[in-house]
Chain length 350, copies 4
């Protein structure tokens, strides 16, 4: 049986590049089309010149306009800029295509699933509702903000074991998270920018939806309060977050480590191709995780979150730790492909 | 009337260098001696070769051993490594010399003042007790850890206005804080190290003493709980801290800004030479303070703390903000010199 | 007598910012107008937000379109992008305005002076010819590429003393040389880009014109062959160049040092406000000049070139050295202002 | 038949780490012992803590003192600091062990081969002479300085095709070349240090020996003059060199590209395990090679040199290009292992 045809919308950015690399060796999907904006009509090898690397077998693929009538696909991955995504993704869904999107445009829409495959694959049930509501033949499924992902995975493990009450997250985010030209070197070399436009709101709201409960076609957000401070630092890949969590129930460090290490979800049970065997890797050395050393930890490069510095705060119910995840893989292209794998197994792709 | 003679112990490190620059243009103090370890017998210009800059008028001063019998001074500044400080500073005090120390060796000793000149100059009264206790003719006064300083100054303003209950600090510290050879480039370029040995304990304990109350010869620590996570990032100068503070009383952002902007202490009243007119500078742009841009803000270079991103958390009594201070000036040599200015005005130096 | 009115075209870029800082404290010129493109109609403080610092007295100046009919000035400084400069600068000259331009558009035009004030102020005589040729009331004077400047100043000293035959220059250029958004952080952090579009041709051609001789209204280029390799490295300010020079005449290192140290020109004789007393500063330590340490060496910040590592090659007539200059000051805004000072003294500004 | 036992002297530094990684998957050699200095008695996993990664199967190996009586091996790799190497390597050779050394101590000794396996494996014949001269049962073979290697490989191709007359090399070297603690972050972040102690002499002398001819037990150095300027820049891995070469014979760019691309040696003919199929990879994009992108180019990670920007100078016989090589692999551990593979095939190891 042949592979499913996969299109990538917005294929010529930082995340697009990762999609191509992951798809080039994927057992279930094969690249059928790429779209762009300023590069329409060019070959991929030209569109990437000076900016990145394209797998040789894709070098001559032509960049198409982002238009459903031009794109032949069984599943569509979108890493479009949010304003474009807002306008274009519904057109693809209307045209009957399943869209898995990294863009933030529809993440918080009540009938759109916001998926971390290990956490809330049951939310995919919203797809039916969405198709009815919007009279679409296709649909949109979204993945979270790249900082949210590395936060919400350990939070899920803690919430299940100890019930979260309050979370305070301070992120130190890599420049690649802002896209190829997103952070000028003059702005960030030897510097920290303690603000990323729009980011904190996403990190505060998205985990509540992801950890929420699907009931009668609605997602009831988890009752956990979150404060977030997002900063940009001069690292290349990997968002590191210092997390403080107030827990409802008593805990020991050993039990926290255990809840992280044993954290698994449907993708591990199903042994999906892009699923790491350990979604959360606990590092025990004092000075880890470090972005340059640990960002690709685990058996599926860039798909595991690494966690370290696990310790109690002054208050008995306060837990402190540091978490690191690959913003372009687990935080974008990788999680979208893992989500598409779930969709395939669930019969949502034909 | 002549200037007071000032000696610098451990003069050939990162902080020692700043002492020399500040003393070279100081109206009250003049450099009388420098001590070192591996550079004993060398001229300063040689000791600094390839590592830093020495004011020309000090180029030919010879580095002495760190021995009170060799040092002629009215006041002694110590930036010795902690183990050396532990052993040597008492010898200088015993020999009748006033020691102002950046080292952590005696900061938490009950009879040793730990001073931020704008906050707790009244703690200098411990000096008399210390001299009696230890039968010293001289004494030791200490200044806080370089990260503590940038944290405790805005905390003092908040504590006075709204009473602190809990503080959570996540620091992103510059490489210069670890000394000239402290952080190998291979370890930190494009990386974050989420741990600094011994640092968090200092950031947790020292503010409680500094904000504490002197009563019957004892310092009653302030009743504020602190959690801290200290990280090293690839910046050169300036420690940035993301702070979450739970306050006892209601507040508005305007009143918080006002408490920061109007924060002043004895050094400002006395118009001490190294006192900035505004110890805390509030920056209102969304993306500030930034280390490379703001570390020298204010009228006395490196002596003001800059604060930004002031906002409420999800909880009404939670305040979030970011603070930045120059780790070598306000965090070390500058605060020590400002402390010595207080000592002089208070009659503690003859 | 009042100051001369100075306008800055393209005032909202990296170089524009330096113009404002230099003009804000200039004894002869005062800022009368600024122009831009995307920021037209905004106040300077808004145009610079998040990108730089504007002297407070200029904060409320409105950005005008780059149109001679809107600009009131006695002299116009242009840091326009080259394609815009090509089109717009002649309009200002035609409208009667003296234009001093950092742009490359007209540098190599036969009737346009390409000036390094210490080297070839006599080339300003071309202005008369240019005005006649082009029937302009105003005129265009240009300054060299930011890498050319740091190279040609020591070359001039060598050429006068020993006659140059061949020069090989390998540059390591700071990111600020490409403008605020010119080099994405993802492209350059921990990296070297061994190519800068169009740069090498400029470094090869411009010195021959600058070192050339004005004869009968023509500049006869100096007979020196140049090879150049231009690279971008992760530094912020200061272009460093490793230079190999083959000389016609015998030399000793002492005499080379002497020719550099004693190098002076008209600006020094005239004691112009922006003239450093020593245009070339020789550093004798083995490991200098270094961009972060030496880029502002000398008595006029950023206007001196520093030179070090002066030594012989395997061949007796080959000289090796390293040169460093501030790309935004000596390489752009500073040299243009120094040139305007020459123009004023020479009676070319009314 | 079993693998040969390989010991690594100085195993706990930057290069030592690479040896372990390369040996952990080597088909012919297996790690039998590691030695160090400050870490003697520790397990490797402890010696590397906070500084690097050790293959799990080696984690519990104990670090021995660098003493031939303690070391069981068929071949010894040395990445000792030069002064230690000078003293210790002869003791290992005397004790009957073949030593392949990255250290510079004996590189220029007349009876010690200085080997680049693709260039001068015939120089290994010096081993017999050396053993006789020094009455050793073992012997010392050396590999070049890490900057020399990336330079001399393209030089060899050019020398064979067009005969070299003069070479000018300007290097931009990564911080890892100086060892783990070799370059403090405060010294190099955002900076360039235009000097590396002792490096230029090595880059000037070593190629002449490597390209030289063995005749009657002597190496007649190649008659090529070299000038070198070595600089340290803020990159992690990969030394980039801008090269200017004056050639004896006419050339075209096509023929130069061809001479590079077709460059091969004994290791390729013998298909040695660590031999890349293309020792020199020519990159045709304008802005390559770049350290972060190209340092691992080719089929054996870190073993190919990449070359780009190939062009003529002003003079017809002058060739300009840029070369990049991995300083820890092709420049140290990898070349030593490839050399040992040659030794094995040549019957020099039993």
């Amino acid at each position: 049986m042949g592979k499913l045809k996969a299109a990538v919308l917005g294929a010529t950015g930082m995340v697009g590049q990762i999609y191509l690399q992951l798809l080039s060796r994927h057992p279930w999907f094969e690249l059928s089309a790429v779209t762009g904006k300023s590069n329409v009509g060019k070959k991929l090898v030209e569109a990437y010149r000076g900016k990145g690397w394209v797998p040789p077998e894709y070098a001559d693929i032509e960049v198409l306009p982002t238009d459903p009538s031009k794109v032949d696909a069984d599943v569509v991955f979108s890493s479009l800029p949010t304003p474009v995504a807002r306008e274009v993704e519904p057109k693809f869904a209307e045209a009957g295509l399943p869209v898995v999107s990294d863009a933030s445009a529809y993440r918080m829409a009540p009938d759109v699933p916001l998926i971390v495959p290990e956490i809330n694959e049951d939310h995919l049930a919203l797809i039916e509702l969405q198709k009815r509501n919007r009279r679409w033949d296709g649909y949109i499924v979204t993945t979270p903000n790249c900082t949210t992902v590395g936060l919400v995975m350990p939070l899920k493990a803690l919430h299940d074991a100890f019930t979260l009450r309050y979370v305070n997250a301070v992120s130190m985010q890599a420049v690649s998270g802002a896209g190829y030209a997103g952070v000028p070197s003059i702005a960030i070399m030897g510097n920290i920018i303690p603000y990323i436009d729009g980011e904190e709101r996403k990190v505060i709201e998205e985990p509540r939806k992801i950890l929420g409960t699907l009931k009668d076609g609605n997602i009831i957000p988890a009752e956990v309060s979150i404060d977030a401070t997002c900063t940009r630092v001069p690292t290349l890949y990997g968002h590191l977050i210092s997390v403080t969590a107030e827990l409802e129930r008593d805990f020991t460090i050993d039990r926290v480590v255990d809840s992280f290490s044993s954290f698994k979800g449907k993708p591990q049970l199903l042994e999906l191709p892009t699923a790491p065997s350990r979604p959360i890797v606990v590092l025990t050395e004092d000075d880890r995780p470090q972005p340059r050393i640990d960002v690709e930890v685990g058996d599926v490069k860039g798909m595991s979150v690494s966690v370290g510095r696990i310790r109690k705060g002054v208050n008995e119910r306060t837990l402190l730790f540091v978490t690191l995840s690959h913003n372009l893989i687990r935080g974008a292209a990788g999680i979208a492909i893992l989500t598409a794998e779930l969709l395939k197994v669930g019969g949502w792709l034909d």
